[in-house]
Symmetry: C2
Subunit: 129 residues, 2 copies
DNA sequence: TCCAGTAGTTCGTAACTTATGAACTATGGA
DNA sequence: TCCATAGTTCATAAGTTACGAACTACTGGA
């Protein structure tokens, strides 16, 4: 019988730069984090469709876990669903500007790609990971 | 017969945030980058011993390649050795503050660890990757 | 209390990445 | 030409990630 282990939220002193960079180096996770930053409390299934491709539920679940265990988000069960919020204040206190700057860079890049895509018709889908 | 392929330096528009974060999410690569930032032109073998552990030459070579192909450094052959320099100006122009902030965070963390190590005698070597 | 539905997790495994020793290339000097 | 030095490539073992299938956990009826 499968057990459901408790969610792991590292305490802020245990959060590492390596961990944060690794977590946010994945475009799907960066997109999730970006969305959580504006719509706090969003659930896993709010993300089933991200950036023009369907992501399997199990994969998404792993991505949330990665963000959680890197210390970037906090997840709480509310009834049947899992509400997620960023830990941005804590993290920003520990590593000032880090996450904000990373997310800005991601945004800069997303804007560039959007522009490129409106110019050319179908420009060789940008390689993931 | 083994061929030696030409070094790949992506043009600055092809440098991605994902790539940068991934490259700098490895502590060895972050240490190399940090060192290059202060001692420009350093060679691969200057790094054979980094942060208390010996790193094999082949592994180091791959790390330099990763940094190079992420667009973070430029490598040029000078005689028998390979001189490496950061591409920090270009990269900073493309993603303002990104690399600087990441390196600051790494430094903050390194300082913390150093402090912790001087307090306790041998405190369970911090897990890599 | 049982059942169905919804939300998310875990497991197994296939696909991909990374680390490293051994063998190589490339260059310069004797 | 031969040797030494610096770094690269290859093969492969070890580690990581993605994803379908099967599960847990919870809620709201009947």
């Amino acid at each position: 019988m499968l057990r459901m282990r408790p969610l792991i939220h590292p305490s802020i002193e245990d959060v590492t730069v390596e961990g944060i960079l690794h977590a946010l180096s994945d475009p799907v996770r960066a997109a999730i984090y970006a969305e959580l930053a504006v719509s706090s409390g969003a659930t896993c299934s709010n993300f089933l469709k991200i950036s023009d491709r369907e992501i399997p539920k199990s994969t998404l679940s792993q991505h949330f876990r990665a963000l959680r265990e890197a210390g970037l988000i906090r997840s709480e069960r509310h009834g049947v669903e899992m509400r997620n919020t960023t830990r941005c204040e804590e993290v920003n206190q520990r590593f000032p500007g880090l996450v904000v700057t990373i997310m800005q860079a991601h945004q800069t890049q997303a804007a560039e790609r959007l522009q490129a895509n409106t110019r050319k018709p179908s420009p060789r889908k940008t390689k993931a990971r």
